[in-house]
């Protein structure tokens, strides 16, 4: 499989009053034209990994890596100006909460058109047509009305689909989706996933899917990285996630209530200090 993105030994550090806090500690993985899931609890560094790839971590945060290569070009060495043409156009990111990612005082249409025209030389009319087309692609009924609406008039599910439409307009090679469905209902969740799945298949896009929902990731992704305290503790094929070996993964799986296996008490995760000391597992192919 051809490698789109190669991340080697990525560290994210935040200096604080109590010394340096390492949010991500030496993570390595590659991404091909596949759906790669990153799971872990909050604070495990999964979102920071996604943001570090796009160099979105601002000082005082420090990002260090041996390399973050996008098709052979090391993003760590790119000047900020060139980085801007990578963001959005080649790698884009869907953030967790659509409410905080859309501009509240701009109509949705204006925002999508702006995002599109920033990356292309299209005229306003072309951009409008393209935006309508994208909104339809993420199964928004009545896209003309949505173009005129403001973000607060949209529900969470609609907002998330709008974000996805906006991110996909420049036709990126890689999409980083940070908990794209955790604010959504199960029925809408399915729709959003189907949209992303279709894009991976049709366009040969690489997808990094960040989530804390193990069942969802097992169902939806091809490969899964399990993160704990800034390190990758286990890598496995998504369909074999339920046979995972690491006690942390097992603990997470067992703590989920299940409809088909009623229990009086749920298993509570017992944390072992060895898990965070153990070196990161490399997920480079």
């Amino acid at each position: 499989m051809e490698t789109l993105l190669d991340v080697e030994n990525l560290w994210v550090k935040f200096p604080s009053r109590h010394g340096v806090f390492d949010a991500v500690r030496g993570v390595s993985f590659t991404l091909g034209r596949e759906r790669l899931g990153i799971v872990g609890e909050s604070g495990s560094g999964k979102s920071m990994t996604g943001r570090a790839i796009l160099r979105l971590i601002r000082p005082p945060g420090i990002v260090e890596a041996d390399q973050i290569s996008l098709e052979g070009v090391d993003l760590m060495k790119l000047p900020e100006k060139d980085m801007r043409s990578v963001r959005g156009q080649r790698i884009s990111m869907v953030m967790q909460d659509p409410k905080f990612s859309l501009n509240p005082v701009m109509t949705i249409g204006d925002q999508i058109i702006e995002a599109y025209r920033l990356h292309t030389t299209a005229t306003k009319t072309q951009a409008y047509e393209k935006s309508l087309e994208m909104l339809e692609a993420v199964s928004i009924r009545d896209p003309e009305r949505v173009m005129r609406a403001y973000p607060h008039e949209m529900s969470g599910g609609m907002g998330q689909r709008i974000m996805i439409a906006m991110m996909l307009i420049p036709n990126p090679e890689i999409l980083i989706a940070d908990e794209p469905t955790s604010a959504l209902d199960v029925s809408v969740q399915r729709q959003v996933l189907d949209i992303m799945d279709k894009l991976v298949k049709d366009r040969g896009m690489g997808l990094i899917f960040i989530s804390h929902d193990l069942n969802l990731v097992a169902d939806f992704c091809d490969r899964v990285l399990i993160m704990y305290a800034g390190r990758i503790v286990e890598v496995c094929d998504a369909d074999k996630l339920h046979e995972a070996q690491h006690p942390y993964t097992r603990g997470l799986l067992n703590s989920l209530p299940r409809l088909d296996q009623p229990r009086d008490r749920l298993d509570v995760l017992k944390r072992d200090p060895d898990w965070s000391i153990a070196p990161s597992v490399s997920a480079r192919l």
Partner: protein, 246 residues
């Protein structure tokens, strides 16, 4: 006798052409000591039912009986001693500038307890936090710890009916398991009645004995957990919801 009986409940917001009927003709009964679940998509009106019971949704019609007592527009003080609510987002439901001690102490004071000091200690022990958390502020606590404080606050007046509005949806799965175990233990110890709202069918299946499925403001079906586990819903919407959540 039933702890909570709701009959023909309508809740609406706005008026004239802006009127939204959030709940229409809801009817269900929760027995004493039972744990009852409300499930549905967002916007189906499940949280609104809880808010109507506590008095946070002022426009309602129909009857709501708590332990045989009919509710009126104004809630008597005894109501708040019987019914308490735990909210969805533990990050938003605690005052950021009140320490845990102040949060619990104020609640106890308002409910007229005199042995506040001993009760604060007891409440913290009951929710598995312990004394060392007593003088912390919310920002010094994790999400799970905050939800424990919120539960302790709800338990302070020694209620008999606890309304739980998505108590674990903002938490990680490992923390969710801790909170669900805590809630199950508290119910067993104190003989509490739960009315729990969740969009997660497996959580409701774990916690509740019976559940109502809501869609578009109406209760479409009431079924027990065995039927839920066997995936035997009679209404097409609840069947659809069951299939989507697998």
């Amino acid at each position: 006798m039933s702890m909570l009986q709701i009959n023909g409940l309508n809740v609406w917001f706005g008026k004239n052409q802006n009127r939204v009927d959030a709940v229409r003709q809801a009817k269900f009964t929760v027995a004493k000591g039972e744990s009852f679940g409300l499930v549905g998509e967002s916007g189906s009106g499940k949280s609104t039912v809880l808010r109507a019971i506590t008095g946070l949704a002022p426009n309602w019609s129909g009857t709501m009986d708590i332990d045989g007592q009919s509710l009126t527009r104004t809630r008597p003080k005894s109501f708040f001693k019987t019914v308490q609510m735990v909210f969805q987002d533990p990050y938003a439901s605690l005052h950021p500038r009140h320490s845990v001690d102040q949060v619990l102490g104020e609640t106890l004071y308002l409910h007229g307890f005199s042995d506040i000091d001993a009760r604060v200690v007891k409440l913290l022990d009951d929710v598995g936090l312990g004394q060392k958390f007593r003088f912390r502020y919310p920002h010094q606590l994790s999400g799970g710890q905050r939800q424990r404080v919120a539960i302790a606050r709800a338990l302070a007046p020694e209620p008999r009916l606890l309304l739980l509005d998505e108590p674990t949806s903002a938490l990680d799965v490992s923390v969710q398991a801790e909170i669900l175990n805590l809630l199950a233990d508290l119910r067993a110890d104190r003989g509490l009645t739960y009315l729990m709202v969740s969009h997660d069918l497996s959580v409701v299946g774990h916690m509740c004995d019976r559940l109502a499925v809501m869609n578009n403001g109406e209760i479409v079906e009431i079924l027990d957990v065995d039927a839920l586990r066997a995936m035997k819903a009679s209404h097409p919407y609840s069947q659809h919801l069951l299939e989507a959540s697998l």
